[in-house]
């Protein structure tokens, strides 16, 4: 529906421009919200994949009888907890981290967990 206004000569005119901008401004937040959710999902997936890969690598390192090096710990997401559970011939490594999603002041913390296991290799001690 066109609106009315005054032109330079104070004559009543009908205005039809500006509707597209107004409509775009109304719908834009909804689209930005959906795009933000999509990007957040992709970020969570990337972090989860990184955790799974790191858990498998950590289990392999411990299974060989080596301690976890600092380079491994530094490669994990900030604040990741490492739990190593030996169970007979198998060692299980559990990595837990929390990822904040949402707006800076309205954030929600999501806990991501990855678990991997490896068989402990026999250690042959060298004599002499």
């Amino acid at each position: 529906m066109p609106s009315v206004g005054l032109d330079v000569g104070k004559h009543l005119i009908q205005r039809t421009h500006g509707y597209a901008v107004a409509e775009f401004a109304i719908v834009l937040p909804a689209i930005l919200f959906i795009v933000a959710i999509t990007l957040t999902l992709m970020g969570i997936t990337a972090t989860q994949i990184q955790l799974e890969s790191s858990a498998a690598m950590g289990a392999r390192i411990i299974g060989r009888g080596d301690p976890l090096p600092d380079s491994y710990r530094n490669s994990l997401p900030l604040g990741t907890q490492i739990l190593s559970i030996p169970n007979g011939e198998v060692v299980e490594v559990i990595l837990t981290t929390s990822q904040k999603i949402g707006l800076p002041y309205l954030s929600y913390s999501l806990t991501l967990t990855a678990k991997a296991s490896a068989r402990l290799e026999p250690v042959f001690e060298e004599f002499g």
Binding site: V27, A30, M42, S117, E121
Partner: protein, 131 residues
């Protein structure tokens, strides 16, 4: 001669409809993004499980080679619905882990996830050394 002026069409609301359609398309893409993410994570887990199983089986190659595949199968407990095919020789074990996808949207595109892994030991030294 009478001049006819074209009637002006009412364009208001068209952008809203276009953007709402775009929003609906993006909204319907969300479950697909989630399913693809879940698929990628499952593939990563399957790869790790296949690697760990192959390494567990490889520890048996030197002294207990006939049991290497059984050890690899017993080690693989994270994916009970998966199937494993395994071949073991004197110095190498190779296995293929296949996991059927059960999620409705993705199982039509990717019916199975497959992970292949192999591990081995160094070639055993010959029994008779250099004379």
């Amino acid at each position: 001669m009478q001049k006819t002026t074209p009637q002006k069409a009412n364009d208001s609301g068209q952008v809203t409809i276009l953007l709402l359609v775009l929003a609906l398309v993006l909204l319907s893409a969300l479950p697909i993004v989630g399913s693809i993410g879940q698929l990628l994570v499952t593939q990563q887990r399957l790869n790790a499980a296949a690697d760990a199983s192959a390494l567990a089986g490889a520890l048996e190659l030197e002294f207990n080679q006939p049991q290497a595949c059984d050890v690899a199968r017993n080690f693989q407990v994270n994916f009970p619905s998966s199937t494993m095919s395994c071949e073991a020789s004197n110095s190498r074990i190779r296995l293929v882990l296949t996991l059927p996808i059960t999620n409705a949207p993705m199982k039509y595109l990717f019916p199975n996830l497959v992970a292949t892994a192999s591990a081995g030991i160094a070639q055993p030294a010959p029994e008779h050394g250099i004379d």
